[in-house]
């Protein structure tokens, strides 16, 4: 039969020259024509072998990258740099993954090019950076061995007495440290502008300053090559996000200079632009559901099976489309098979939005009432462990699973209420805003004075003043608040004193509010014993005292996360409208009455809140309920990888043709971008260097 094969080699012929967004769109349309022409070509037949003989491959490329985010885009670019053809598959409608809404905080180190630039007191070549280095040269001076020791330092414990570096995979981290220099330079070479080194990103090591943030300069047009973004695309503070950047891009004047802005838009869009320019082909709206290996548990990985996963605006029904279209492959069939001649890269992200998976580490998190960061941006298939599970099904082993419990940002309670997507502050303007419906009310820690927090049955569960608390991670500049007995410059790697019991007793400061929040309650029933949603209850007096803005877009009366009522009894009824409010909040009236009596008495016998701040009655109508949404932000633990980012099987052997990185991989406790970007860089190099 005729093979419906489309060859990504044709991408060689599509090499964008666009500089502005408008030009890029124009060229994108042209590229779409090119892709369509390929549809009719028969091309070369695929050579499926062994148990995969029956597979009719629909597409073929040297490298299939699954997940076009923080780890995936570097692989794709690196592979194209090496002359390989690449199809990047992503379940979402737009590339970038969670990197797109990140803070673009990239901690590398070991004497990376930005450290060296700042040590020398230099600016960037474009002259955007007009502020002097933030750190003294000695605070950034290190070599790769020093970095490796820092990120595998067994002696460091954090303020929750967790050990963020002790369990890191050695081979993986040696390779990571070895490749920080190359990765930073690679990023700079692919349109990423970094500001001054400023401190260190969580779990990026304690002894030196290593973090640089990607930025763009405000300009008349959004132009990645020129390094500029318009005010509109960067977002208007408190008013709007944009299709370019789902979150308002923050002021970069401290790390770069006036009229600069930072966040994941500067990082993700830069890499995406470069990938498209270099001929990476993107098959968006396509979720990988299976890795295909020659034999179920042996042989090479030769491709993937992927299903169509379009997203539609819940308000208008209109399909969401990518910001840029250059290099997009239009494909709407339900299922396609994509053959990888050399390698498949699993860069699908983690498992934070898979309640079954994450509950392996903390059973209470099996409740789907608790979400993942970037839910609106990534949609229902984001961070769903699909890559990890697909790897497990063909024999891959896992690593670092226990590290999910080793950092403060994994399962936590963000301080943003009245939205399900509580981790981020997305404003209207990004196409996925409709999925969340509200930005949420962002609280400072002092604002908790004005609310009572209750669980699904309407009972308080912890001292509300602690809900805004979190313990810090051991990073620059160190010291007691970070869990280290000395400042970072004085930190002695591997010194037993860093974690002596006396010291741990002194600096331990973890609050257990998240554990209390998701504990079983009388509304929890077998078999899952879901804990259910949490609510902030407050009144008109709160708004008067603390100035909360409950107007749209901060709240919405349509998404079930914010209710207004004349009485507490009415509020109880309204809460049942929320999809995860499975039982009535039957104790709410009694709880508020009791709270008001505590205020009258000047004491909170339940949680001793009177010691922390004034207590206020909740008695002035109207009354409000805003969702408090626990979030599993990032995830740790995933496919075990080698120093070359190869996936390892249960016997400790490499699975040929399969690579992984970022949150789909395990064995590393470093948070976020630094880990993922280097993994992608390593994987890209490894694939290019593969023989055959």
């Amino acid at each position: 039969m005729t093979k419906r094969l489309k060859n990504a080699d044709e991408a060689e012929a599509i090499n964008a020259k666009g500089v502005s967004r408008r030009e890029f769109f124009t060229q994108g349309a042209a590229a779409g024509v090119g892709a369509a022409a390929l549809m009719s070509g028969t091309g070369a037949a695929s050579a499926a072998v062994s148990a995969t003989d029956d597979i009719q491959w629909d597409y073929e490329a040297d490298v299939v990258v699954v997940g076009a985010g923080c780890a995936g885009l570097p692989v794709a670019i690196r592979a194209r740099d090496g002359g390989l053809t690449v199809i990047a598959v992503d379940q979402n409608f737009d590339p970038g993954g969670k990197m797109l809404h990140s803070g673009a905080q990239v901690s590398l180190g070991g004497g990376d090019p930005v450290q060296l630039r700042d040590i020398a007191g230099q600016a960037d070549k474009e002259g955007f950076i007009t502020v002097p280095p933030i750190h003294k040269p000695e605070e950034m001076t290190e070599d790769v061995d020093f970095l490796f020791n820092d990120i595998t330092d067994w002696s460091v414990v954090d303020a929750a007495a967790m050990a963020p570096y002790r369990y890191n995979e050695r081979e993986e981290h040696r390779a990571w440290a070895d490749n920080c220099y190359g990765t930073r330079q690679f990023l700079i070479d692919n349109y990423i502008r970094f500001g001054r080194i400023q401190g260190t990103h969580p779990n990026g090591g304690i002894s030196r300053a290593r973090r640089a943030v990607a930025f763009l300069k405000l300009g008349d047009k959004t132009d990645i090559k020129a390094g500029t973004v318009t005010r509109e695309d960067a977002g208007i503070d408190g008013k709007s996000s944009s299709a370019f950047a789902p979150r308002f891009m923050a002021d970069g004047s401290q790390i770069a200079g006036p009229n600069t802005v930072t966040n994941g838009g500067a990082l993700s869009r830069g890499l995406e632009f470069s990938a498209r320019e270099k001929g990476v082909q993107f098959m968006l709206n396509r979720r990988m559901v299976e890795l295909i290996r020659e034999q179920p548990f042996s042989g090479r990985v030769i491709g993937i099976k992927a299903e169509y996963s379009p997203r539609f605006d819940p308000d208008t029904g209109k399909q969401l489309t990518s910001y840029w279209t250059q290099g997009n492959m239009e494909e709407t069939r339900s299922t396609v098979y994509i053959r990888a001649r050399k390698a498949v890269m699993v860069s699908t992200g983690g498992h934070s939005q898979n309640p079954q998976f994450r509950s392996m580490f903390y059973p209470a998190w099996r409740d789907p009432a608790y979400g993942s960061s970037a839910m609106a941006l990534l949609g229902p298939h984001g961070q769903d462990a699909s890559g990890i599970i697909a790897g497990m099904r063909i024999g891959a082993t896992l690593a670092g699973m226990q590290q999910n419990l080793g950092t403060n940002i994994t399962g936590h309670i963000p301080t943003r209420i009245a939205t399900f997507d509580s981790y981020t502050d997305m404003l209207p303007g990004h196409p996925t805003f409709s999925y969340r419906g509200s930005t949420g009310i962002t609280l400072g820690s002092s604002s908790y004075e004005h609310l009572v927090a209750v669980n699904q049955v309407g009972k308080r569960f912890y001292n509300e003043m602690a809900l805004g608390s979190s313990y810090p991670t051991p990073v620059w500049p160190g010291g007691k608040s970070a869990g280290s007995p000395t400042s970072s410059m004085d930190h002695v790697q591997g010194d037993w004193r860093n974690c002596s019991p006396d010291w741990v007793r002194q600096m331990y400061n973890k609050y257990s509010h998240i554990d209390a929040a998701i504990a079983m309650n009388e509304g929890s029933t077998a078999p899952d014993f879901y804990s259910g949603p949490l609510w902030a209850i407050f009144d008109a007096g709160t708004l008067d005292r603390d100035g909360w803005d409950i107007s749209f877009p901060f709240t919405s009366d349509k998404n079930g996360t914010f209710f207004t009522a004349d009485t507490i009894e009415d509020l109880m009824v309204k809460l049942t409208q929320y999809r995860y409010q499975r039982v009535p909040a039957k104790h709410l009236k009694e709880t508020i009455d009791k709270w008001n009596s505590y205020v009258d008495g000047g004491k909170d016998p339940d949680f001793a809140r009177e010691a922390d701040a004034p207590m206020h009655k909740i008695d002035t109508p109207p009354f409000y309920a805003a969702l408090i949404a626990p979030i599993w932000h990032d995830s740790y633990g995933g496919l075990r990888i080698s120093g070359k980012a190869e996936v390892i099987d249960l016997e400790g052997n490499v699975i040929p043709g399969l690579f992984a990185g970022g949150e789909a991989s395990g064995g590393g406790q470093q948070h976020g971008l630094g880990r993922c970007l280097v993994h992608g860089y390593i994987a890209g190099n490894s694939i290019v260097q593969m023989k055959g």
Binding site: T424, E449, P614, K617, H633
Partner: protein
Amino acid sequence: MSVLHSPIHDNCTCTVDVLDGEVDAGHGFRVRASARCAQGCDLSGVTIAFHAPGGELATAMLAEADDDGGYTTDEVTLAAPASAGHHHFTATIAPSAEGLAHAAPPAAFEVAAKAHAARLNAWDLPSAIVAGEAFRFKVGVKCSADCDLAGKPVALFDTDQRQVSTAQLGNDIWPGTTALFFAEMAARAPVDAGRHEWTLAVPADEAGLPPHAAGTAVLSLNVVAAPECSVTVETIAQDGQTPIQGARVVMHPYRAVSDEHGIARLRVARGDYTILVSAAKHLPIRRDVTLTADLITRAELEHEPPPANPDDFY
């Protein structure tokens, strides 16, 4: 060859599920009807009629067959009678457009209607009331079915159930609410210092249509002895050394709010206190004092940085 149908299909069934429990008299309640033809007719699009003793209440069409071959309507909201008690209804299958009748016993169902509940709430009550002195506060009453309560009486009873004050709910509803009628009440505090729990009450109107049940709420009074000392707290922003307006100063049970000069004044009895001071966008502070004379003190509050967006750090 055509199949001739009898104009009447006997032994059909019709049932109704009442989806709500007890409802407010005169208020809506939800039902869903199901039907099945003994001869297996497709009943989708066939009408179900809901009847009260006085006549037809509503109709609804049966939807497509479910997995079990039954046909069900969407949820239908019917109005309960305005009186309290158990009310009985029936539902029947209406003849199809082709004149085919599905004979089924009328499906009987009932709903329990109750008197509307009165929900009371009091606010703006002074946190400390000097023994024997007059005080004022607001009381709001909301009907569970959002009825107009303008002119309804509210009474205040002391610990011994003696009526000490009355008021009538006004014609307006409280700003921001949909049906909370309110009044301002005045009363005189007991002469004994300490906590006193009085009772606010609205009487029942059982004979009304719809009927309304009585409602009560506790009014908790902190009655204090005559103040002996004055406390002046100057609230200052630590960074700019500027006065903070609207700062809360609490010396339980006394409370005050700072003015435009950052000054909060309290009149309190002698004794041991914890002074708690807080203000929007500032971190709260506390100080323990033993008060034997007038006190003038200064509270410097540290500015709380704008809430950090975790994505800017992680």
